[in-house]
């Protein structure tokens, strides 16, 4: 599997994502500069966290206009796995690949800590290696992670099992329904505020995030095998 890690100016978790895939997962990975226009040849796309363009306007609001974004949207339409983490999640929201918006944390401060997440849906290409309702430990680090959407959207998300992760225990940022991660209707675009790439090595406290990347790899292997045999 060959994964692209998109590098926006101001991204600061691009290397963490790169190493989680290269060292943690042991798969091919390359940085793709924001000004590139193609993602052909990549099997999965990662939009890492950080402060793209300084987040001076609104988180992710400028990044959505970057040269690479049409290629990200194309990859999503083609059914390739697209994962946006933290600022990457905000970018996916701004680009309209996922519904809703992100507000400032309800306590108005940046928060960095390892939190407990509940796996709400394990029947996705991102979570197949977790158990349903499993509690996992993944770090968060954000100032604007308070997910908001209107009632109709929330109902759609719930009805279609598109809420993938929720915060377990204390809600750290005031997110609606304690939502930590959601996916698109087709199930191949996941946005989440917690950082699975920071939980890919037990030395750093948790490797619960590694199974997310392994799930993507399994999915890729199965679909490659299916394509080969069909």
């Amino acid at each position: 599997m060959k994964t692209a890690v998109i590098v926006f100016p101001g991204a600061n978790c691009d290397q963490d994502m790169y190493y989680a895939i290269k060292d943690g997962l042991g798969e091919d990975v390359e940085y793709v500069w924001h000004a590139e226009t193609s993602l052909d040849g990549f099997d999965a796309v990662m939009i890492p966290g950080g402060f793209s363009y300084g987040d001076y306007l609104r988180s992710g609001a400028i990044a959505r206009f970057a040269g690479i974004m049409p290629a990200v949207i194309k990859a999503a339409q083609e059914g390739k796995p697209v994962l946006g983490v933290c600022n990457g999640f905000q970018i996916l929201l701004e680009a309209g690949l996922l519904p809703g918006a992100m507000l400032k944390n309800s306590h108005l401060k940046f928060i960095c800590e390892t939190v407990r997440l509940k796996v709400e849906n394990n029947e996705t290409l991102f979570t197949s290696l977790y158990k349903k309702d499993e509690i996992i430990r993944i770090p968060i680090a954000h100032g604007e992670g308070n997910y908001y959407c209107d009632d109709a959207t929330l109902k759609t998300l719930k009805d279609n099992h598109r809420i993938v992760f929720t915060y377990h225990g204390e809600n750290p940022n005031g997110s609606r329904e304690a939502i930590a991660g959601i996916m698109n209707r087709a199930g191949n675009v996941l946005g989440m505020m917690p950082h699975p790439e920071r939980a890919a090595d037990a030395l750093l406290g948790s490797d619960d995030g590694l199974r997310l990347f392994q799930s993507i790899l399994n999915h890729w292997r199965e679909s490659a095998h299916a394509a080969y045999t069909s």
Binding site: P9, G10, Y19, G50, G54, D55, K109, H195
Partner: protein, 740 residues
């Protein structure tokens, strides 16, 4: 057009003594005239006034800084460059430096703290290193004071705002509260970087004819005279100098880091230096002086964000996120391309010349021409010093030892003092995990960062007990270094070297200068014993508000090497049934202790004494026990003594402890006798541990319980972990939610 025609003439500057309002003394002005062989014009007077300020020249502290050992087998770069560098093997090196941003933070706390972080990061990547960690040593006044709470809240936000955005983890530091910092908080930021030997860069302008380029953000009128401002006392008038505080842009700096690290690999790069304090003038003159050459610069080419800037304003501006580089002539376009990719300016603004002068051209005229080394050679000031009467009285004071009837209540009260309470309210606001190398997060004795691709780690800490130094600066200076080294050792690291941030009051006061002298002597002596050279540092004087000086606070930033992260230790107990040892005996030493300050409201008497040889021997033994795998946890005993250390060891765990002592309870629990540790050891390894660490006394065992039980001959103390921990964690958030 620039208002240069309104500037005073050289004659006016002399006759009306305008140089004095710019920060030069009478004799310094005469020295400038002598060096130039003529009267300086307005721009030139400005250049000298900032470069000869205490902040840039260290003219007062220089004679003391010479006392520090700066050499050692690992030292690749000592003091004098952006940051110092130590070898960590495998052709890799660690780069670090600490710097103060006290004065700006007292006036404009968010930006003051943010730009303090930004500045120290530039010092580190200008050496060719990738910044991997930030530590902050912070001191504020009484949290009951609403202004203090405002300063505290904004400083923390400023550090978080800058560090989180740029993507460098803020992994540790210190936070203390004392009335002496009410009007004058201390904000000292330390940055640590990692590099390959081959990437080492220096700030030198070598090669006649080579091109001088300006890179990064454009120049505005912010921060003009910041260095001079930082060399005065803070007073009611300081608010008028708000414009001397710079504004930071961490996004710009993130781009600058990446572009400069790319530049570092380019063979055309000759030298690189941050435009920090005193901006263009310091970077240009220092790069020229260090290489024994001159620089001709055309100020019309400087990227400017405001119109009609004068040469004076451009040279003295402290706009952030700018660097000066020297490159091989002819490679300008390649260099521009590197920066253009990151959306940054890279503009050729001058060239290296043979004549050893800094020559500035503006609108077709030479507006300043001064010998490059003259700016870097402020006349050294030898200040008189005098032993303070208070010191003599404290030395003669009888031993202070309180009668305590409620031991458990006293422990509770002690742990809920802001200085000893949990710092989570602060550290949660910092992204301490970005870069995914943080092995030990804030809260243990030292933070630990993995060196990616190796099994090595870097342990880092900042330390200074200013109360000890206030009582006895020589002893306190030794203890500051010893405590830092002990913290490194507790993590399983070998202390490598230090950087220091020397914060004091006004050196013209002979008693303040004596404190400087004595504490530096103490630190230097300790550095020799621990073989930890001083590789970088910063001096911050004039930390006084309305003539009230801070306690002398020379902060030690230390980095150590962990050769195998598999043998890492932290302060927390790990296993039920492990034996608990206390290493070192407590003496009734309470001068400057947390207990004394809590009960008396002030420090008095003698601080703990330290035997540096014993300290070193014990550090070596404890480190050896850690490296051999004999221990489960190690914690040093410092502020709050054994009571605080035992609580730290159980907080955040499911454990308690059962301890027995034959000693005096008050001394055992609260004394701050030096060179002591709390260690837990697996039952099966007790013999090995005892044979390795002399002076280890078995005190009890780790229990799976919610209580710390301490049994003394005459009485027993039972501490409830859940309640104690809850109150300990809540102190800062509770204080900060107070209104008005």
């Amino acid at each position: 057009m620039p208002l240069t025609h309104l500037e005073p003439s050289p004659e006016q500057i002399e006759q009306e003594k305008i140089y004095r309002t710019m920060g030069l003394t009478e004799s310094e002005y005469q020295e400038v005239v002598r060096l130039l062989g003529r009267k300086p014009n307005y721009t030139e007077t400005g250049l000298f006034s900032v470069m000869w300020s205490e902040h840039c020249s260290y003219k007062t502290s220089k004679p003391l800084l010479k006392l520090f050992p700066t050499k050692g087998k690992r030292v690749l770069q000592g003091p004098g460059e952006g940051a110092g560098i130590l070898d960590i093997g495998d052709d890799q090196a660690v780069v670090f430096k600490i710097e103060s941003h006290n004065h700006p933070s007292a006036i404009e706390p968010y930006q003051g703290a943010a730009t303090g972080v930004g500045g120290i990061i530039r010092d580190v990547f200008s050496m060719g290193a990738r910044p991997v960690a930030i530590l902050d040593s912070l001191r504020f006044g009484d949290l009951n004071n609403s202004r203090v709470r405002y300063l505290f809240e904004e400083v923390v936000s400023g550090i978080a705002g800058y560090g989180n955005c740029i993507g460098i983890p803020t992994v540790g530091g210190e936070l203390q509260f004392d009335d002496c910092y009410n009007g004058n908080p201390l904000v000292n930021a330390m940055c640590v970087g990692v590099m390959k030997h081959e990437d080492l860069q220096v700030g030198q302008a070598r090669g006649i004819g080579n091109t001088v380029m300006y890179v990064g953000a454009s120049t505005g009128r912010d921060g003009i005279n910041g260095a001079t401002f930082a060399s005065e006392e803070i007073s009611a008038k300081s608010d008028e100098k708000r414009s001397a505080v710079q504004v930071g842009d961490p996004f710009m700096e993130k781009l600058l880091v990446e572009a400069c690290l790319e530049l570092t690999k380019h063979e055309a790069l000759v030298g690189i230096q941050d435009m920090g304090a005193a901006g263009l003038v310091s970077s240009a003159s220092e790069m020229a002086a260090k290489a024994g050459v001159g620089i001709h610069m055309n100020l019309d080419l400087i990227p400017q964000r405001e119109t009609n800037m004068t040469p004076y304003e451009m040279m003295l501006s402290e706009s952030q996120e700018r660097m000066l580089i020297v490159i091989k002539k002819g490679s300008e376009e390649e260099i521009k391309a590197i920066f253009a990719r990151w959306g940054l300016h890279a503009v050729a603004v001058g060239e290296v010349i043979e004549e050893e002068v800094l020559r500035l051209e503006h609108k077709g005229k030479i507006v300043a021409e001064v010998p490059s080394d003259a700016l870097a050679s402020a006349p050294v000031r030898h200040m008189p010093s005098r032993v303070p009467a208070e010191y003599t009285a404290n030395q003669a004071a009888p031993v202070w030892k309180p009668e305590i009837t409620d031991l458990a209540g006293t422990v509770h009260q002690l742990l809920t003092q802001p200085t000893l309470a949990s710092k989570e309210w602060v550290t949660r606001q910092y992204d301490y995990m970005v870069q995914t190398n943080t092995v030990v997060a804030p809260g243990s004795d030292a933070a630990v960062i993995r060196v990616r691709g190796t099994k090595k780690g870097l342990a880092m800490t900042t330390d200074c007990n200013a109360k000890y130094i206030d009582l006895d600066p020589l002893e306190g200076g030794k203890i500051a270094v010893a405590e830092a080294a002990r913290n490194i050792v507790c993590s399983g690291g070998e202390p490598l070297g230090i950087t220091d941030c020397l914060n004091y009051g006004t050196p013209e006061n002979p008693e303040v200068f004596w404190e400087m002298e004595q504490s530096v002597r103490g630190m230097a002596e300790a550095c020799r014993v621990f073989e930890t050279p001083v590789i970088s540092g910063n001096v911050s004087l004039y930390n006084e508000t309305n003539h009230q000086a801070i306690d002398p606070t020379p902060v030690v930033g230390m980095v150590g090497l962990i050769d195998d992260l598999g043998r890492l230790t932290t302060a927390s107990f790990k296993h039920e049934g492990d034996a608990i040892y206390v290493v070192g005996e407590a003496a009734p030493e309470f001068g400057g202790s947390a207990l004394q300050i809590m009960l008396d409201g002030k420090a008095s008497g003698k601080p703990p004494v330290i035997d540096l040889q014993l300290e070193k021997k014990r550090q070596d033994e404890v480190l050896s026990a850690i490296r051999k795998g004999y221990v489960s946890s190690v914690h040093d005993l410092s502020e709050g003594g054994l009571a605080a250390a035992a609580a730290d060891a159980v907080f955040g765990t499911e454990f308690g402890a059962d301890l027995h002592f034959e000693t005096d309870p008050v001394t055992e629990l609260f004394s701050e006798t030096q060179s002591r540790y709390l260690v837990s050891v697996p039952e099966a390894l007790r013999k090995e541990f005892e044979a390795t660490v002399a002076g280890a006394v078995l005190a009890g065992s780790v229990t799976r319980s919610e209580n710390i039980e301490m049994h003394f001959v005459t009485e027993s103390v039972s501490l409830r972990r859940p309640e104690l921990e809850k109150d300990w964690r809540g102190v800062l958030s509770c204080a900060m939610s107070a209104k008005n």
